[in-house]
Symmetry: C2
Subunit: 401 residues, 2 copies
């Protein structure tokens, strides 16, 4: 598997970016981000399945229903532009139009994104005043400023890049995402932007959705699905290389590289989960279907009791078995096996005589894997979660006050 | 509505109880409880829908598949007898047989219950040694000892009683329950025992399930459904009064009294939720069906972000709207109304201009109601929840270590 670097959204050919302060955030941190593809890029996108969808999500879906070549994505942080009604939709439209005007682009060339607090109108005067500077600062060196400007409660920048050498030349992928709370994506996480200079076929949409399911949709911080979840892949094609022209082996390499990047970005969100001190993989195998394996893994990964035990480094496996049982998936409790890393703690539904000290050493680690085998079928799925700590409560008890 | 007293399980005619220390709990608190009906009582019961069911749940279901007249319920706390395999089932059977022998009862006259930590074998020697004293201490004065002996992390005793005066005489109901964590019942909560001296018809089962759905199944502490959830109603009939012989008005009075008692017991569990500092009613109305109203209410009531905001007395209504949208139920976001008590904070999906100070005064209270109206139909449902506090994390990070 190709190694993931930290090149960000400008790593592939054909992309420049920018990030500045417009005064939307009270903290004075960067709050406007722009990603630009001068020649245009083919766009693949997934959005939240929340019934309450933010204005930028509604606007982007409208744009993408008519076309799939996009020239820019304009994002603000500090305000989600959600539950803002017609005014919010008009503001999302204005955001796109401001950038279209400044860059001399045709209508519907720009997507928008917003993240932050729900239910407040965007300060359009501040945004409007900042757009000229934002555009002026566009540069292929600004991956990091872009990554910074889309953050809210994030404590680490989330970027990644990967390249694959093919017989026809090099293909590059870059990406950046943000997210720390309200993370239980059902379509894509808060905001994630992936770029590539590979030429991708129209029918790559289905594969992109599958990759999102296995990466951003396989993580959870607090079980709360956001109103703004968005994952966008922009393909500039400027490597001059088309996916369909590659050999089968190269296609596999490229797909694995893209998936590796997306998973790397998703895991950065878990690691930076609000208050999180640990990152745990929950693998469910031996299931009758992938859907059922995922359903059980998510039930375990979102259990507050399980997550508190992770925080306390308490190898309380009974809670894991109980939350599997509460998932709604039928299985035979007497067949269950459960492992903490390689240490088997449950066999045929009953505790083994493994020493609790062995388990305690494992759950003290910052990262470890828990594996539940149903012994019913051949399917498996993994979900990545974090622990539930005092700091999660602190951060979220005091967010708007 | 008849007033709820604190009489407990021995309040109706025909029941005695007992509670002693057998040394199962390291704390040395009461850990064995017995409820006895000398003449036998008709039994209605609901159990957890968790796929992993504790041995006492499996045993009780077996007993009740063959008969519905029960003479005693024998409960231990401090050990859930779950994930204990064949040995656990044999131990549950032994518990019943020990009491049957001591009270000269026929086989399958006694139900059992267990609550506590998962995955440990019961100390049958201690239990066996304590049964003679437990039986010797049976008395109609021991409702409180019974209530104490079924507790684990509970900080308050949960008892209640109610009586209804009919033309034929007085009918009484009493009850006791326990539960503080792993509370998100799908059938009934951890352990709840209701008694009555009313004669109930066989077909009362369906109505009992309905009452459980509206009381114990309408509460949540942490979204974790337990392996041991059990709710049992024992009807001694010793008032000499049969439900079917009462007038329509009296039948309604009796049903309301029973429901009032069950709801009162369920709310005591929410109030004593692990780490809880507040009790909040989430009402969803204007839904297309009761099921959908309940699904949205549960989605809000189990959201960690919402519950942290409750703890921080932060009127962060955006999280409530977002978690409603994540429930999986379809609705029109532009039609939503949201109230904190009588204060309308959202109208047509957008914030009203209500002062945040008005909202802050409401969410500072220990108990309040939040009401979401979908404006789609005529159905509604309520779920009772508590906040997510530092102490919840503390209690559950340190449970077995």
């Amino acid at each position: 598997m190709a190694e993931i670097g930290n090149g960000g959204v400008c790593f592939p050919k054909g992309f420049s970016a920018s990030g500045i302060k417009a005064g939307i955030k009270a903290s004075g941190n960067l709050d406007l981000a722009l990603l630009y593809s001068k020649e245009g890029a083919k766009c693949f996108a997934t959005f939240t399945k929340n019934q309450v969808q933010a204005a930028p999500v509604l606007y982007d879906k409208k744009v993408l229903s008519g076309k799939n070549i996009i020239h820019a994505v304009f994002i603000n942080s500090g305000n989600a532009n959600a539950c803002t009604g017609n005014q919010g939709y008009a503001d999302a439209t204005s955001m796109a139009e401001l950038v279209e005007k400044e860059l001399n682009l045709a209508k519907f060339s720009v997507l928008v994104g917003s993240t932050g607090v729900i239910g407040h109108k965007l300060p359009m005067d501040k945004i409007s005043a900042a757009v000229p500077e934002l555009v002026k600062n566009l540069s292929t060196e600004n991956s990091e400023l872009f990554a910074k400007a889309i953050c809210t409660t994030d404590t680490i920048l989330k970027t990644g890049s990967v390249s694959v050498q093919t017989a026809k030349g090099e293909v590059r992928f870059g990406g950046s995402c943000k997210g720390s709370g309200m993370i239980h994506p059902n379509m894509a996480t808060m905001l994630a932007y992936i770029t590539t200079d590979l030429q991708l076929p129209e029918d790559f949409s289905a594969e992109f959705r599958e990759l999102v399911n296995e990466s951003f949709n396989a993580i959870t911080v607090d079980g709360d699905m956001s109103t703004n979840d968005t994952c966008i892949l922009l393909a500039s094609g400027q490597s001059g290389i088309s996916l369909n022209d590659l050999s089968a082996t190269e296609q596999t390499d490229v797909r694995n590289a893209l998936f590796g990047l997306m998973k790397c970005l998703a895991l950065q969100i878990v690691k930076d989960g609000e208050g999180a001190t640990k990152k745990i993989e929950i693998e469910v195998c031996g299931a009758c279907s992938k859907t059922e394996a995922m359903q059980i893994a998510k039930s375990i990964a979102t259990s507050n009791l399980v997550k508190c035990a992770f925080f306390g480094a308490d190898p309380n496996w009974g809670r894991i078995v109980s939350s599997a049982g509460a998932s709604g998936v039928a299985f035979d409790a007497d067949k269950l096996s459960l492992y903490f890393e390689d240490a088997q703690v449950v066999k045929n539904g009953m505790p083994t005589d493994i020493s609790v000290n062995v388990l305690r050493e494992i759950v003290k680690r910052e990262e470890y894997k828990i594996s539940l085998n149903l012994h019913l079928g051949e399917f498996k799925a993994s979900v990545f979660t974090c622990d539930l700590s005092y700091d999660y409560v602190k951060i979220n008890a005091e967010y708007t006050t």
